[in-house]
Assembly symmetry: C2
Homo-oligomer: 241 residues x 2
């Protein structure tokens, strides 16, 4: 399929580029081991992530003023440390743990796929993670972004339309010259609503494997999306990269 007008791809990050659940769960399990705690690290990860949308929604509806992602993660973490019986962490240790979201691991094919896509398109983040979080993550994981864009730069979290429009503006492009890449249909529908093109990427393991998952991965997409792919290397194939 030809998409002659698209010059930049903007990527959702949590779940689309990186495996947040596996990364958080591994670090929590390590912490539990160190401290001799018996806790369900997968559940801790799921519960932490479950605080993310509601926190952002409070900002989006104006109930909270703009606060960054680190503060949203921290409010939830402080609740979970009590709930899971993790005590005795110093402020420095708690802050370090909260920044686990800055050091998430990419999916195995992420770097290869991004590198191929970069050969033909400007590739940028467009995440609700902050610029600092995304920059630290990229440096650690070797994510080859051309630039690091965040909802933070518009003061509006996705899926508010301002976040997508601001990204196009900062790239110096029309909305139709930008394609949003995400594993989540809601993100893509909102992007399409502001005129961006859309590429849906399936990430079947975002919420783990097997049964009893907190959420079911979004594997259907929507026939209205411009592309549907089984990962970034498949998307690169489809885009001729």
């Amino acid at each position: 399929m030809s998409i002659p007008d698209v010059k930049a791809l903007t990527f959702d990050v949590f779940g689309t580029v990186v495996d947040w659940r596996g990364s958080v769960s591994r670090e929590i399990a390590g912490l539990a081991d160190e401290r001799g705690l018996d806790l369900d690290a997968d559940l801790f990860a799921d519960e932490w992530r479950a605080g993310y949308g509601p926190g952002m929604n409070k900002v989006r509806t104006g109930e909270w003023p703009w606060i960054g992602i680190d503060a949203i993660h921290r409010r939830r973490l402080d609740e979970l440390l009590v709930q899971f019986g993790v005590d005795g962490l110093t402020e420095e240790e708690t802050d370090h743990l909260n920044r686990i979201w800055h050091r998430l691991d990419p999916w195995p094919e992420t770097v290869e796929g991004l590198t191929r896509l970069k050969s033909k398109f400007i590739i940028s983040t467009l995440s609700n993670g902050s610029v600092a979080l995304l920059t630290n993550m990229a440096k650690r994981a070797g994510l080859p972004w051309d630039c690091v864009l965040s909802s933070e730069l518009s003061g509006h979290y996705k899926p508010d339309p301002e976040s997508y429009r601001k990204a196009a503006e900062l790239l110096g492009l029309q909305e139709g010259e930008v394609m949003m890449v995400a594993a989540h249909s809601g993100d893509l529908r909102a992007a399409a609503g502001t005129g961006l093109r859309t590429a849906f990427v399936k990430r079947p393991d975002e919420f783990g494997h097997g049964t009893g998952l907190a959420r079911t991965p979004d594997l259907e997409g929507d026939p209205s999306f411009d592309f549907t792919a089984n990962g970034f290397t498949d998307l690169a194939d489809q885009l001729g990269c």
Copy 2:
């Protein structure tokens, strides 16, 4: 010298990272050749650049509302095309010419130096060029930024203090954890005024070679700067990268 607190280096770009005068002059000379025009391409470049500071100052003082760097360059270009007798360009050709500032060539040691500095520090632009300009430039020239920051993100051109403070904020760092790298003392003094550390890099050829230069390069720096270096590889040596 040890600088244990510095985590990120932010770079001035025009003159510090890229050779704007040589790049603009070469493209203008090519255009003149194509069209059989007899014009002084170095002078065209100097005169174009001479409109940059005054244009930004009109924004800084509030005489003009915020306008981006492309618009500032374009206002000056439109004057120069008349002054140098270049006519008959289509709007598309004029726009392409104006975007020469998106495709400037780096100094010969820039990429090697940045790559070494990146091994130890977050490296970012902090330029009055727009995010789009800096992203396009980096992609073409292979500049390995960890992130692309611009005065545009604060709505205040350097040397307004807001531009430096916003960069530190977006990097999630204290001002003293950021070091500004520039070939221009004024930029560094303003950065120091907001608490950033400073590295002065000599770029003796910024305004060309020989006599009759429009401006004299800043080669003295200031004893108050934390570092003074003969380029990025020298700075990398000094910083142990």
